[in-house]
Symmetry: C2
Subunit: 118 residues, 2 copies
DNA sequence: CGTATATTTCGACTATTATGGAAATGTGAG
DNA sequence: CTCACATTTCCATAATAGTCGAAATATACG
């Protein structure tokens, strides 16, 4: 019954995403891919004061949705796809009625056969 | 560019789910199916004071994730699968890296064919 | 009607989250 | 070593969210 762990983790992730600026940041980082973006670049793109952005980046990091690495003077943030995957998994598993949710959104996705390991 | 509408809606939904009791309620209602459950039954099952529960149910309703209907003296709440579907769609579309997210969740799903009519 | 049941609204309060300027920290260059 | 740069931490403040008892509302029943 380590189920509570999952829902706690889920709530953390949901809370992290449930905020205008943070959702914007996360979308940006998902687009940016594995390379990620520097805090400065993110801050500029999203348009909030640096200290506020730092706060939001910390929230997302704490929720495990993004990772941080240093590259010289800059801190580079990148989306953690596995974490997002896990979140989607939880929601699909617990919050979707049978077959309905998690549709293969629009684009052609034929040989979808990636077995979930989680 | 009615894109902002979507992300606003998404944030509302995420905020609604990002709370221990509300996530519990929503999961409960997803299980309960189209029939739904009375406020009283939910309150008892989740174990919070009635007035608190009322607050949470209002949040979920306001986010469009659940529906309310009256049945005699009781108010019956039910999960709105379409809304959850839309949320999953947004996340898959905007917050998932290419093919990775929204997997065909683990369990054997052979003849599961209950068309959720919603 | 009057009474019991189901649930919400009100109100007062506590707790958590968000904001942003100023100061501190880490890093590289000259 | 000093300076510029990138970013965070600190702190005070404002805003929002959550809690729950008590009073109000809606519905049914005799």
């Amino acid at each position: 019954m380590h189920n509570k762990f999952h829902s706690e983790q889920t709530i953390k992730a949901l809370s992290a995403l449930a905020q205008e600026h943070r959702l914007a940041v996360f979308r940006l980082l998902v687009q940016a891919g594995a390379e990620g973006m520097s805090a400065g670049a993110i801050t500029e793109k999203v348009g909030v004061p640096a200290s506020s952005m730092s706060f939001h980046l910390a929230q997302l990091t704490n929720a495990g949705l993004i990772t941080q690495r240093r590259q010289s003077r800059s801190l580079i943030y990148a989306a953690d796809y596995a974490a997002m995957n896990a979140l989607m998994g939880y929601l699909t598993e617990n919050c979707c009625g049978g077959a309905s949710c998690a549709p293969d959104t629009s684009r052609p996705r034929d040989s979808v056969d990636e077995r979930k390991v989680v």
